[in-house]
Symmetry: C2
Subunit: 420 residues, 2 copies
């Protein structure tokens, strides 16, 4: 006999963390979920929505209050009868950590159980320095952040971590990452638990947590199905399906950077194929096209940036040059947007999302990029799929990842049920 | 305050059918779902899985028995203590109808509430004759099937219908279908309810219900995420996400036939673009290539079929010719499989499914087609996404649609909750 499909199953992660999970009953986790989604609920609401008896609800509420997870937070509006007590998640129960590890940056945030921001910090950090150095640094930074914000006394309940590579979500492991030397199969969760033994830890891909961040607190807040496209050096997507991160069967859904665009004449990609989306339209491709323009002498403005950097050019320079009106840079950005949009058009036909969100470093190239992507999607997708399809930039920007990491940690932590 | 996300919301359909829905409480529908998924459950199972009290469970069970939805069906195994009573769905409660309307065929099935097959019928039928003619015919056929099988006394609880065109699932309407003259926005549900006033009706796209059929009773039974590709005259996909049909935001997910393969030199498609997958690799394209081979005199064997049909050639002839060893036909099939596989490779990178199922008329071209599709996917998808990815033919064949239609109807019918 199998368990109910709606019960979250985090199989192998529990090897590391079973002992530090709250052991909610099914009723308790249902109640927590309702209270969290609705930012508060009365007993009458809870009875109505769950179909549990008043005494059952009362029992669960008392147990959750005793555990410090919820508290009464005032009275609901007077709707003719008695005012009823509203239960909300408890802001003082404990802390939630979120870390977004980028290729060259570390973004950290601390919130309470309600997701309310208590501290935020970022600094440069090279993921290629390996997991021990980066994760130790993150632990040190969080200790300092707690101290500076007088939070050191409070327990850290859950910790969500995003990394710039493929993740086996169920096991919390990075798997064969292209740009993360030393991270392959590294036991991130036990490493963190050495420092924070009572903290529940989840690990996910950085684009997935960005997508979740935009979905719960960003521009996609009223959308159920979202494709978040991160355009940096590489290109990847995070998929929100019915409000949740969709990981795919092996945990690698959204890896769109190697979708084939030009099998015949496209440039070779480190993956071994030719004409991949990433190698044709990612940040490196944009910089490569710009370097060619400098070499061919077709753009004075790009030449200026090239010389300023001492013989190098970056994607952001093309953005600056385009804003100065450089037609070559505008053309490079348009071409990149068109290629990305053509791939997205296919994915729109397949997935029929309610929104496409563009983020990542290269998205700073601005509206020329966005409108080229949008145009290509409109041209090659079905009208029914595009007539209400916003194609927009990330709203949360650098915060998308950490906010997503925190929400992912909360999602899993608050819905973990007693294992029977 | 919004309702819980796991509660199914069938908004506008309820306009037509609210009065004939069973008004299950949340607890009752939860219990029904557990009993259905596990093909039976004891009170102890139900208490353990739902966290409802024994008296609550007893109350719900009594009410469901009284309604005729469940009954006791024997005792569970002796596990040391007392044997416990097992509750199962009631085979005699009423009937479920499934209809799969194809472009040129009508497939019908009757089952009981447990999905047990009681009758099956198929006949040719041209969808282009319009909804009144086709739907009336289906009603007549079902009446006859009931009579022939001594089922006329039993109420028809739910009716799932699949149609070969885009469907607005929430409203139960066909929307701008390319091959279904007269069906656009036709009120299918009220039309059926005129004949079967007490029956709950759902309508979905034919590929979606095929995908569901394979997922619940076919080759995908142990897979959570499936892409079902129907290759006929057109090409479309049905998406199973975490065990359920994924419809997309506007209800048109899976419409992969117009994904662009060759924007520059591909043939024009009736959709207005050029180089769509369908126009390059669908049944018509295969027949077109074969007709060219006949014209160019490159295939004696194809010429034979062409002459036999009096100057016409169909996709199935190319299959026969390939089986006879005709190299031209083998090449045409391989080329079609390669194009389909290249598009699927991109979708595999994006969606990371646990299985790809190939169905539809052209799939009869056999293993040459399947292996070409598989090869192209392996070549252009990420190793992590393909290492455990079966690419297989439909197991249920002509039954996939009706079985899916019945399961969809049951899914929705048994999970409808009282509207508060």
């Amino acid at each position: 006999m199998t368990s109910m499909s709606d019960t979250p199953v985090i199989e192998d992660t529990t090897i590391y963390t079973r002992e530090i999970l709250p052991v909610f009953t099914h009723a308790e986790s249902t109640i927590l979920s309702i209270i969290r989604k609705n930012q508060g609920a009365s007993k009458v609401d809870l009875i109505r929505m769950t179909d549990y008896s008043r005494s059952k609800i009362t029992g669960c509420i008392n147990s959750l209050i005793e555990g410090g997870f919820i508290h009464t937070n005032g009275l609901s509006g007077n709707t003719g009868g008695r005012r009823s007590v509203i239960y909300t998640l408890h802001g003082n129960k404990g802390l939630v950590f979120g870390a977004d590890i980028g290729a060259t940056s570390i973004d950290l945030m601390i919130t309470d159980l309600r997701g309310k921001r208590l501290a935020r910090y970022e600094e440069p950090g090279l993921v290629k320095h390996g997991p021990r150095k980066i994760l130790s640094r993150i632990c040190v930074l969080f200790d300092r952040l707690m101290e500076e914000n007088n939070l050191s006394e409070r327990p850290v309940l859950a910790f969500g971590i995003g990394v710039p590579g493929p993740v086996d979500f169920k096991r919390g492991l990075v798997v064969s990452p292209p740009i993360m030397p030393g991270w392959d199969q590294f036991p991130i969760i036990p490493f963190i638990n050495d420092h924070l033994p009572d903290t529940f830890v989840v690990v996910d891909n950085d684009v997935n947590i960005m997508a979740l961040g935009e979905s719960v607190q960003g521009i996609g807040i009223d959308k159920q199905n979202i494709i978040f496209v991160k355009i940096g050096t590489g290109i990847g997507a995070g998929i929100i399906c019915e409000g949740k991160v969709y990981h795919g069967t092996a945990g690698c859904a959204g890896d769109i950077g190697h979708i084939c665009v030009d099998n015949e004449e496209g440039p070779f990609c480190p993956c071994g194929n030719r004409g991949c989306l990433e190698v044709l339209a990612g940040g490196e491709a944009i910089a490569r096209h710009a370097a060619e323009a400098v070499k061919n002498g077709t753009s004075e403005i790009l030449k200026k940036y090239y010389d300023q950097r001492g013989g190098e050019i970056r994607a952001e320079d093309i953005g600056s040059a385009a804003r100065e009106g450089d037609p070559v840079s505008i053309k490079i950005i348009r071409e990149s947007g068109k290629v990305i949009g053509e791939v997205m058009a296919g994915l729109v036909n397949f997935y029929n999302p309610g929104m496409i969100v563009i983020g990542g470093g290269v998205s700073n190239l601005g509206n020329i990029l966005l409108s080229s992507i949008h145009q290509a999607i409109l041209k090659r997708s079905l009208p029914l799929a595009t007539k209400d399809l916003p194609v927009v930039f990330s709203l949360l920007k650098e915060d998308a990842g950490v906010i997503g990491a925190i929400n992912l940690a909360l999602d899993v932590y608050l819905s973990m049920e007693r294992v029977y």
